[in-house]
């Protein structure tokens, strides 16, 4: 139950899930997901972001400013290779201590600010509006769909999860909260293929015009 398939909506199935370390201790939540790549080209899940520094990216102004002022300004970066199982929670291959989750120092700590070059965060995409290059509004991005190769539900979960597209439209919202099932990728307003994404800037995901595809 709750096994992930080959087509995964990252917002619904991974973001905000409980993290368990190798000793089965609860050690935070998936506060954000780091993607490696760039708009329109090959992009994969590269790390999970955990901690207060990632909360501001999840909120809209002015709540984001308020949280930014109150919460510590760092987050932990858990490499995707550390994930061993995704089900009702996300299981990691080391203890929280070994992963540095109990400290704000070390190589797995990332400070608040723009994502490192060549990366983006799922929260950036989820806050954005989809606009075509000719300026037509297509709606809000409700979820980010990724694809993996393995059929076996709970195994090899840390293989490459490649971003295949963005979910938008009314059904996108229904999918995000789990009211309707994650469907097969289909062209149109519901599913925007990743290779049609031109850029991501200032809360806008610019995509090619439908006629140009």
């Amino acid at each position: 139950m709750s096994a992930v398939g080959t087509q995964v909506n990252l917002g619904l199935r991974l973001l905000d899930d409980q993290l368990l370390d190798s000793d089965e201790h609860r050690c935070g939540r998936v506060d954000d997901i780091q993607l490696k790549g760039s708009p329109g080209s090959r992009t994969e899940v590269s790390a999970l972001l955990v901690g207060p520094g990632s909360w501001t990216g999840r909120l809209r102004k002015p709540a984001a400013y308020l949280v930014e002022g109150l919460a510590p300004d760092y987050m932990h970066l858990i490499p995707w290779s550390e994930v061993t199982r995704i089900g009702t929670s996300v299981r990691l291959s080391h203890t929280a201590k070994e992963l540095g989750l109990e400290t704000n120092e070390g190589r797995n700590v990332q400070w608040v600010g723009s994502p490192p070059r060549g990366t983006m965060r799922v929260s950036e995409l989820l806050r954005s509006r989809l606009v075509t290059s000719s300026g037509t509004e297509l709606g809000r991005v409700w979820d980010v769909r990724a694809e993996r190769q393995t059929e076996l539900p709970d195994e090899h979960v840390n293989e490459a999860w490649r971003v295949t597209g963005l979910i938008t439209g009314r059904r996108g919202w229904e999918e995000r909260i789990g009211l309707s099932s994650e469907g097969d990728p289909a062209q149109g307003e519901l599913f925007m293929p990743w290779d049609s994404v031109l850029e991501l800037a200032d809360g806008i995901v610019r995509v090619t015009d439908p006629g140009a595809r």
């Binding site: 139950m1 935070g28 999840r58 709540a63 929670s89 995000r176 789990g178 009211l179």
Partner: protein
Amino acid sequence: MKKVLQIALGVVAALGGFVDIGELVFNSQAGAEFGYQLLWTVPIGVVGIATYAEMCGRVATITKRPVFDVVRQRLGFGPGLVTLIASEAINILTVAAEVGGIALILQLYFADIPFRVLLLIGAAAIVFLVWILPYDGIERIFGYGGLCLAVYIVAAVHLHPDWGDVASGFIPHWQTGENTLIYWYFAVGVIASAMVPYEVYFYSSGAVEEGWDESEGDLAVNRMNALFGFALGGVFSVALIVVAAILFHPLQISPEFLGTTALGAQITFGETGLLLAFLGMMFAVGGAAIEGSFAGAYAFAQFLGWEWGKSKKARKTKKAPAFTSAWMFLFVLAFIIDFTGANPVLITEYSVVLAVVALPLTYLPVLLIARDERYMGEHVNGRLADTLGVFYLVLLTVVSLVALPLLFATNHGSG
């Protein structure tokens, strides 16, 4: 046999969780103000809490996710944070109401001791008991103790009500006239006091703590607890309304103090009745104070994904310092609110009515995940659970829109 005992204990615990100062205040005042006319609101509240408690218990058993885990996962960080803040505000008010209620009850025994001293003693005693008792011990001691309130059921029968009038009170009807708003205020209050969110936070977290598992037959235990525990709680609520309707309504007395509510048992059974009523109230209110503070700590820790629990495992590994700090912090805040001299009965009314506003945000994600086959498999909501779940979500949304205007328009029910 072991399973039967487990169900019986669970029913008592659910019953103990159901009856709190909100029930005592709203049901007694509803009976005193409107006789039997508001009895119909009791089954509405009871079926609602039983529906969602069963759903929460089932989700916890199958997915190992308690309520706030589900809230965060389905609503996301932003709306989840709003729900958390609203829930914590209500939890603080609830614990303040319950801790203040303990002091009020103690004051009825020890009239010479200042209220603030009794407040300190009551709060310290509760914190001490929580510190030394295991999870199931807390649940059972306060659940069993709350059974003393059965004196109201016996009193309701002993007072020989006109059962035809009582039965007609269960038929919903529209109230018109000058008391219309007050009538609806108490209707909202009785339904809301039965469905306050801390009950499901506590219940579902308890299911995860106790390691409920479908292979152990715990889904049946969950169903029995939800059905019979809350139904028995409903019988207590009906008894409170009936006793107040017979004794206070004709005299136009409004039981604005817990002592007045206790008089219902004393007039019927003398000193013994009074003692049982006080003891029952003490355990019911004390248990609710603990559940409220735990519910707040559960919500906080689960939202952030931190270790939580009062189980042996959590205590042994000492890995839940944030959880422990959170419930103690809630007690301190509640104590400070009471220490300012705020009236606990008034705090109760505010906490119950404000709780209604947070209810749809709490129950929506539970309903979403309970009807999601990907998570629940064959234990996904059936047609009845789905229909009731949607019905109550719509009802609670409507009630949440009118609750605050009614609170202010009726001057919290006093007209």
